[in-house]
């Protein structure tokens, strides 16, 4: 197709892949953390919440630098990983990690709101019917939260798809490896004659964002009934 140049397709495909993988990767820990925040009395709650919000409030470039310092070849974690033959800095896998970190707070918040919305009295009813904690979670809490979880996934995907600051400082701008769609746009902006490419990619971003937004609204509007309300 000639809608986009080959390297533009590459950037789009990379961003989609990063967005999807980052969301799937963060989903299990996000569900676990959201459940703990919603259902458990945590002694360190304030600290956990502050840490959770950090990627939202910190300049993304700083988050990216922190990832580089931690996971780069000479970072404490990166050195360990390197010994095991795993390198993430300046690789597309690193872009997934950066995007996951940036989307994580949104995912946790949405899922937590969904868990909070599940009627605890239904869980108590399940308990009297012999359901232990896992069964209550799997058969009551989780199914009644699916829409909220879906909305959170869309938000996290969109955040990951458009991630720029943390990605560029952690994995830089390597064509075909870490040049995601936003980074490709930035690159084109700095290239003489790049304007048509900028327009094309901006249009593609708009389409993806719009689709994600529609999907998120759909999930939110049909938010599952939070249990059987009092008649």
């Amino acid at each position: 197709m000639s809608l986009l140049a080959p390297d533009e397709w590459q950037a789009l495909a990379l961003s989609l892949r990063v967005g999807v993988l980052a969301t799937l990767l963060s989903l299990p820990p996000a569900i676990a953390l959201a459940w703990a925040l919603s259902r458990r009395r945590l002694r360190a709650r304030a600290l956990v919440e502050a840490l959770l919000f950090l990627p939202l409030v910190l300049p993304p470039v700083v988050t990216g630098y922190a990832l580089l310092a931690l996971l780069g070849r000479h970072g404490p974690l990166g050195a360990l990983l390197a010994e095991a033959g795993i390198v993430v800095a300046f690789r597309w896998t690193g872009a997934v990690i950066a995007a996951a970190v940036m989307g994580f707070p949104l995912l946790v918040m949405s899922i937590r709101v969904a868990f909070d919305g599940v009627d605890r009295r239904l869980e108590a009813a399940a308990e009297t019917l012999g359901a232990g904690a896992w069964r209550r979670f799997a058969t009551i809490t989780l199914p009644l939260s699916l829409r909220g979880i879906g909305a959170g996934c869309v938000l996290a995907f969109a955040r990951a798809f458009g991630e720029f600051g943390a990605t560029i400082s952690f994995v830089s701008n390597i064509p075909g490896e870490t040049r995601t769609l936003p980074i490709a746009i930035y690159e084109l902006l700095n290239t003489p004659g790049g304007t048509p490419g900028v327009h094309r990619l901006a249009l593609v971003s708009l389409a993806v964002a719009f689709a994600a937004s529609l999907l998120a609204m759909r999930f939110m509007r049909h938010a599952a009934p939070a249990g059987e309300a009092r008649r």
Binding site: D119, R121, L122, A124, A125, A126, E127, T128, L129, G130, A131, G132, T139, I140, P143, L144, A224, P225, G227, E228, R230, R231
Partner: protein, 232 residues
Amino acid sequence: MIELALRHAFGDFRIDVSLRSDVRVLALFGPSGAGKTRLLDAIAGLFAPQEGRIAIDGEVLLDTARGIAQPAARRRIGYVFQDGRLFPHLDVRANLRYGLRDGSADVTAIVELLGLGPLLARRPATLSGGERQRVAIGRALLSAPRALLLDEPLTGLHAEARAQVLDYLRRLKRELRVAAVLVSHHADEVAALADEVACIEDGRVLAQLDAAGFGLARGGAPATPPAAPPLA
């Protein structure tokens, strides 16, 4: 045999109850806010009193003095909540089967007994109040409970549904052997179902009467159940 001894203070309100009963249906009768539902929650394991001992047929569910507190999931208490609490994302069949233990109860018999056959594929949101309550009763019975707790099972139903559910409850009493604790603030309901009545007020047992005594205490002839219309 139900043995119940509880003490708990919520700020100004205190529960201090001691009860023992070996009838089929024990009613806890008293005004709203007397602490009746709290007692049921304590039996079911959904509320942990500061001090107490609860035993059913010799099985100790709670004994704070000995550090025993079985979790709700292991107590095998069938709880019919005032607000139904059917699982909204499951159909009636799945709701009924939720607490089913292997070979513990005969689904067909219970479905038959409560007239639930035509409702099995429906979602709780599409049921009437009386239907919902019957499903809730069936769900609790199918978990093969040591005892059934009924919290105001007829409250919130219109007159016709009330009479109908009451009729089903009488039928259960006739045909099943499970012991039940009924919480109610309606004397006619209590008179219709209970073998023994504990009058509860302000968190304490004022009196424990047998059914005949309860009828007399109400200032009339010994209670006779009001006539109910035939089952639909």
